[in-house]
Structures are given as structure tokens and as C-alpha cells.
Amino acid sequence: MKQQLIVSGIGGQGVLFLTRVIAQAAVNRQMPVLTAETHGMAQRGGTVLSTIKVGDFASPLIRAGQADVGLLLWEANLPVHRSLLRAEGRLLVNAAGAGEGQRIDASGIARDLGSAVLANLVLLGLAIRQKALFCSAGECETAIRQLAPVKLADQNLAAFRKGLQG
């Protein structure tokens, strides 16, 4: 099993946390995983991109047209990162309006839960509901519990389930 994923957003949206949750799910399966993340100045509200490669890979980066799944937390990044996705790749977008890919108003749902930053896990829930990822809902929940601060674990799981149930 091999899967290449991108997570795209802007600094402050929890792109890194979402990246770690997905990668942790692979680790828990004893699968090799590589990620590449954006740190430094771009994290101050600029466009950030993570790549995740699950399976037998050597490099953490993804060539144009090779990603199987794109998780976009910031719709305006579509023109920037769209080209990384395969023609038949799965695209999941956090957006309130209609458009390309499978969409969910993850920020709106997250706001109702008390914090817009939870949009990352709402979008993950949608990706699992659409069977776009290598892992199951239970595996994501385990990874979220492992990585979320204890105080916030329930809120994080609630966000994930909102996306999962639609």
C-alpha cells in the first residue's frame, strides 16, 4: 500500500497537527511514513504545505501530478497546489461555497464547536467519510488521542466526528 497526500493551508490553521495525525495513523500500522512540513516565516499566516508519503518511499516530497489526496484547508490555495494532485486524485476542500472537489464548511462547523482551528479535523472527518485515506476512522481517533493535549482531546474528536458524519 502506498499513498501520497498533501495538506495545504495558511499558517495558524493547524496544517502541522493534521499532518502529524495522518502520519501517526501510519506509524501505528507499522507502515513507513515520511512527511515534509513548512516551518519558519511562512507560518505567520502565509501559505503552508505539508506532504505525507505512506509506504515504501525514500523522499518526503511529492512531484507534480503524483498526489493521491489533497486536503485543502484554505480554498485560495487551490491554484497554488492543485497541480500536485493526480488527474484522478481525491480533492477535499474546506469551503462554504460550491466548487471543485468534495467540500465541507469545516471552518463554519469548527466555529460552532468553539474554535475555527478545529476545521483541520472536520476536514479529516470528511476525507474518511469519503474513503479517501489509507486509514480508518478508528485509527484516526487513536492518533488524535495520542497527539492532542489531554484537555482538548474531546473537542478535537468532536470536530473529527462532525466531519465524519456530515
Binding site: T47, A58, G65, N77
Partner: protein
């Protein structure tokens, strides 16, 4: 294997874990992307160390290097950690260390930033090592970076030389499953064997030390464990070879797999790009007509190979600038192997530019500096506050601490002609300690008339909040003596010193005007204004200040001033109404934007 042994670690965390496992007892660093998380990982794992471990965020990289160096003189293992341009700051001790050597293992970990992603250049530490005559290891994955830590210490101890480990951004900030091991217990006690002919070597002793270094380098080049690793080809292209190092080697491996070309020709991974084994070079000259060389960022292997059939940066076949991403490698490989060219890449599009955070105290300072002196000259420096350029309040950014000296240089050049614009220098608190103090003393004694605004947010913000000397906190939250900024400024000979919270915008502007008047008085000179407000990323700062609900009413005339001149990411223009709107997701309710609006359309109310 238990879950605890096999963890998902970032390359920097893997290196930090490697330092602990290898028995490192003194680790010193100055933060800088992409290296920062290495020392943080050592701090986070300090209790795994079976023996005493001193960890410090040093005031700058030169100091970090020298602290680690002397610790190594006592026979203990030590590491200095920095980003690539930090090595420029540490260059002086680094160069001499090559001749004098070390005792206990000394590892200098220098993180390069091909691209660059978060640096002022994309210099190659491997080339620096060639010039300094220091062995350098170039890992191709986070796991390999960790495994090279004990290898580097071992090499360092056997030859008594400093060894450099050079990860790049894609190693530092990649995560991978990493196997952890039990930390080594070395049981060493500090013992400094005095030897003035070495540790205080005068020129009389240096030729002999240099000779010994050269002998060691010749031996190190032939170290069995550090030779280029060959993956033999299938014989279909017998006179071709590929040579790669660092993360580019990994990109190449994946690419060959994806193109169904594994073993298309002999492939070498270079682990130690300097010193290179001359036998390897001779063998490549004999065995191959054409050799593709892939490395970041300068042609260090290519220069040493000097192969007549080299296909690389020197020959122009490989881009000389920027990161060698898998897409770039694909293009190069297609040319080298005469494959069908990859699909044309869409023109690279830049996403959202970074901005100072909503509520950032630097924004309040920059906005008012620009408002007070629209025609001023604004030298600035390295840190979050570089983003003041979005507000037009940063005109130069060069290297750590340069802004004060540049401000003085601007002054002297203009003063020769008579009219001097107001020169407002902005420097962060951490940068001020790092390299600003000698520059301030120099500006004072050279009688420059400039305003220096020290943007004191009580942390090293850009790299994630490392401690600064005036807060009385050392690595890991340990309490220490605080060294305040004000007495340092006064002792540097500055007679105009004021402190102000930039959120108090009227007072801040008043002080800027007073500072300007002071620089123009007959007895005036350097004026210093400390702009003091904690970093808004710090939760305690956020919860300790009032937060209002900010809204924009119908009086907005769509002038864009709050969006452009003030540039808060929580404010944007609604494309339909043409009026400014507040993103409640991003606004922290500081209210600093309220006086910015020329028609008083921004209002605040207490949060429900």
C-alpha cells in the same frame, strides 16, 4: 519493537535524540530556521540522559560554538547547533578549530536551507567545510541524520577533529519513523590536558598543526564506513553513473522507482562530501564517460571530482539556484538518460504572503513609525519583524544586527551632504543581544544621529519562542539571572532612552517625535526607544490583555487603509460590498486598528 522505540520524529528531533543517545554532555545553540528544533528536542529529552547534560540557548552562534569547543577540550562530547548563516557568525572559532582540533567528540550541526525557505541566502555549509578543512556528513533522511550523530562523534574522537553534520530543510522538517536506542553512558570526567602549543598555538606552531590536519584529512577521506555507497546498475548503461548526496539522493531513488528505472546505471550516494576519497575520484574518471552529479546547493562534489564528463551545476545541466525538488530532478534525469521530457510544470504561483499576526505589537510600532516619518529610512533586521516590510516600514534586511550599523552608515553618507532624513532602525530583543550591542556602541562613538527602536516582545518569536537574556529564563524554563536591556543601552553611551507599549499609540508617536528632535539637537545623538509588549503568540500575553469584539460599520468608505497601510490579516475587503470586513476567526480583539480608520468606522464592544 514497541511503540515507544519506533516513533514519528521530525529530522531535528531525531538529531536531538541522537545527541542524547551518543552521550553528548554539552549542547549549545542559537535558534534559526531550519535548525531550531534540534536543541529543543535535546531539552525535551534531557531526562533520558544518564549523565549530566548542560544545554544552553547561547546569545549567538559564535558563543555556542566556543562553549561546546572548550567542553570538548575536557574530553566530553559536545555539540554546537546553528543554521547555515549562523556558521558565518561562528566562522572565526570554526576556522581555527580545524588546525587546533578537539579532544572529546565535537559535532557542529549546521542546517542548510536550499531554496531558501526561511533564510537570507542558500549558502552551502559543505563548501564552507571545504574552505575550513573540516569533514562534513550529508544525511539523506531523518533516520540517517540520527545514525550519523554517533558516527560523527566517533570520527571526531579518533582524529581529534571537529566534524560537521549538515542536514537541510527537507531533513530537518521531515518526519519519519525513527527507532530509538538506549543512551550511552560514557562515564567521563572533565580533564583539560594543558598544551599551549596546541590550545594557544602561536604562529610558530601552526605549520605543524596544519600538516597534521592535512594528514588526518587524507586518512579520513579513506575511512571505510564513510565511502560512497554504490547501488550497481544492470549493465544497460555501462559508461554512465549518477552521484548524489543529501535529500536529493532520496528524491532520485523515488524517481527512478516511479519511472520504472531502478538500476538503470551505477548510482553512488556520497555520505561525506568533504574530504572525498581521491581513489573514488580516480575510479569515476576511469570507469565512466558521463557522470550526473546531484547535490544541494553548490557544486562541492562536482568541484572535487573534476570529471571531464561531469553533468552538474558547473556544466549547466543542473540548476545552480534553488532547491532541487523532485520535479527539477525529473527534468535533469530525463535530459541525462534521454527519456521523454516530463510534462511542463505550471508556472509557479505564490500563495498568501506571511504577515505579522493579528494583534502583533510590532504592527502597532511599524504603523506609527511610518505615520510619523513618511519619508524616513528604515533599516531593520532578522526576525518576525522583517514582515514590517508589508507596512512599508522596513527598507533593509541584511543579517543579524546589521540594522544599527546600516542606520549609522546611512546617517554618515547623508550628513556629508547636509539634509538627513529621519533614520529609524528596528531590531528585535533577541537580535539586539545577538549582535546589536557592539553596533550600538559603535553608532554612539561615531556620533550617528539615528533612532533605534528595540522591538521587545520578550521572546525569540520567529523561531517559536526561545528564551531571551532579559527574561531571566534559560533553556528548559530554568531560572537564571536576567540581564536587562535598559542598563546595557545606557552603558553604551545612549542618553535618550524611553520605554513604551506600542499599543499606547499616542504616547508611542509622541516619543518618536521627541526622539527625532533629540537626534537633531546640537548635543543629540543616538536615541533609543524600547517598544515593549509581549509576543501575541504567548498565551499568557493574550489572556492578560483585554479582547474586544471589533466590527466595521456602514460608514466604511472602502479606502483600504486598514487593509493595506495597517495590513492586519484579520481585515480584508469584501469583494461584493467593497467595504472592509473583520474575520472573527482571526481577530484577537486588540483594537489597535481603531484609530487607523480615517472615518471612524471601526468600533469595539465588550465581548459577550
Amino acid at each position: 519493537m514497541t511503540d515507544k522505540d519506533n516513533q514519528l520524529l521530525m529530522g531535528n528531533e531525531a538529531i536531538g535524540q541522537g545527541l542524547i543517545e551518543a552521550g553528548c554532555q554539552v549542547a549549545a545553540a542559537y535558534p534559526g530556521t531550519p535548525s531550531t528544533e534540534i536543541l529543543q528536542a535535546v531539552i525535551d529529552r534531557a531526562e533520558l540522559a544518564p549523565e549530566p547534560l548542560h544545554i544552553e540557548w547561547s546569545v549567538n552562534e559564535k558563543i555556542a560554538f566556543e562553549v561546546a569547543l572548550a567542553a570538548s577540550y575536557t574530553g566530553k562530547r559536545a555539540a554546537a547547533v546553528m543554521k547555515q548563516v549562523g556558521l558565518n557568525v561562528a566562522a572565526d572559532p570554526f576556522m581555527r578549530t580545524a588546525y587546533l582540533g578537539v579532544k572529546g567528540g565535537m559535532l557542529t550541526i549546521v542546517a542548510d536551507d536550499p531554496g531558501p525557505h526561511s533564510s537570507q541566502n542558500e549558502q552551502d555549509t559543505r563548501l564552507f567545510c571545504l574552505q575550513a578543512r573540516v569533514p562534513v556528513l550529508d544525511p539523506a533522511s531523518p533516520a540517517e541524520a540520527k545514525s550519523l550523530v554517533p558516527v560523527g562523534f566517533d570520527l571526531s574522537e579518533r582524529y581529534e577533529v571537529n566534524v560537521v553534520l549538515r542536514p537541510t530543510t527537507r531533513i530537518c522538517h521531515s518526519r519519519q519513523n525513527i527507532v530509538q536506542q538506549q543512551p550511552q553512558r560514557l562515564e567521563r570526567t572533565a580533564h583539560f590536558q594543558k598544551d599551549p602549543t596546541r590550545w594557544a598555538a602561536t604562529p610558530a606552531f601552526l605549520p605543524a598543526l596544519h600538516r597534521k590536519l592535512n594528514q588526518h584529512l587524507a586518512e579520513i577521506a579513506r575511512e571505510p564506513g564513510l565511502q560512497p555507497q554504490l547501488t550497481p546498475g544492470n549493465g544497460s548503461r555501462p559508461r554512465l553513473a549518477m552521484v548524489a548526496s543529501g535529500i536529493v539522493y532520496s528524491h532520485l531513488v523515488d524517481l527512478l522507482e516511479e519511472l520504472d528505472l531502478p538500476r538503470c546505471c551505477d548510482l553512488y550516494q556520497v555520505i561525506m562530501p568533504y574530504p572525498m576519497n581521491p581513489d573514488f575520484c580516480h575510479q569515476l574518471h576511469r570507469a565512466y564517460d558521463r557522470v550526473l552529479i546531484l547535490e544541494e546547493t553548490y557544486p562541492v562534489i562536482e568541484l572535487q571530482l573534476a570529471h571531464p564528463g561531469a553533468v552538474g551545476k558547473q556544466s549547466g545541466a543542473v540548476p545552480r539556484e534553488g532547491e532541487l525538488t523532485p520535479d527539477v530532478v525529473h527534468q535533469v534525469l530525463a535530459d541525462f538518460l534521454e527519456l521523454s521530457p516530463p510534462a511542463e510544470l505550471p508556472a509557479e504561483r505564490r500563495g498568501q504572503r506571511p504577515s505579522l499576526c493579528p494583534g502583533c505589537p510590532h504592527r502597532a510600532a511599524f504603523y506609527n513609525i511610518k505615520a510619523c516619518f513618511p519619508k524616513g529610512i528604515f533599516p531593520s533586521d532578522i526576525g518576525c519583524y522583517t514582515l514590517g516590510m508589508n507596512l512599508g516600514a522596513v527598507n533593509t534586511v541584511h543579517c543579524m544586527g546589521a540594522c544599527i550599523s546600516q542606520g549609522a552608515g546611512f546617517y554618515h553618507a547623508y550628513a556629508q551632504d547636509g539634509e538627513v532624513p529621519t533614520i529609524v532602525v528596528t531590531i528585535g530583543d533577541s537580535t539586539f543581544f545577538h549582535a546589536g550591542i557592539p553596533a550600538l556602541i559603535n553608532a554612539v562613538i561615531q556620533q550617528a544621529r539615528i533612532i533605534v527602536v528595540i522591538l521587545d516582545n520578550a521572546t525569540t518569536a520567529m523561531t517559536g519562542g526561545q528564551p531571551v537574556p532579559h527574561m531571566g529564563i534559560a533553556a528548559g524554563g530554568k531560572e537564571t539571572r536576567a540581564v536587562a536591556i535598559e542598563p546595557l543601552v545606557k552603558a553604551s553611551g545612549v542618553d535618550f532612552l524611553e520605554v513604551c507599549d506600542p499599543y499606547d499609540q499616542e504616547q508611542f508617536k509622541t516619543l518618536l517625535q521627541q526622539a527625532d528632535a533629540y537626534t537633531r539637537r546640537p548635543d543629540g545623538g543616538v536615541a533609543v526607544l524600547i517598544s515593549r509588549h509581549g509576543c501575541i503568540m504567548d498565551r499568557a500575553v493574550r489572556s492578560g490583555q483585554p479582547a474586544f469584539k471589533i466590527s466595521i460599520d456602514e460608514h466604511c468608505v472602502g479606502c483600504r487603509k486598514c487593509v493595506e497601510a495597517f495590513e492586519c490579516p484579520a481585515l480584508s475587503m469584501d469583494p461584493i460590498s467593497g467595504k472592509a470586513v473583520v474575520s472573527q476567526d482571526r481577530c484577537i480583539g486588540c483594537g489597535v486598528c481603531i484609530p487607523v480608520c480615517p472615518v471612524d468606522a471601526i468600533g469595539k464592544e465588550d465581548k459577550a
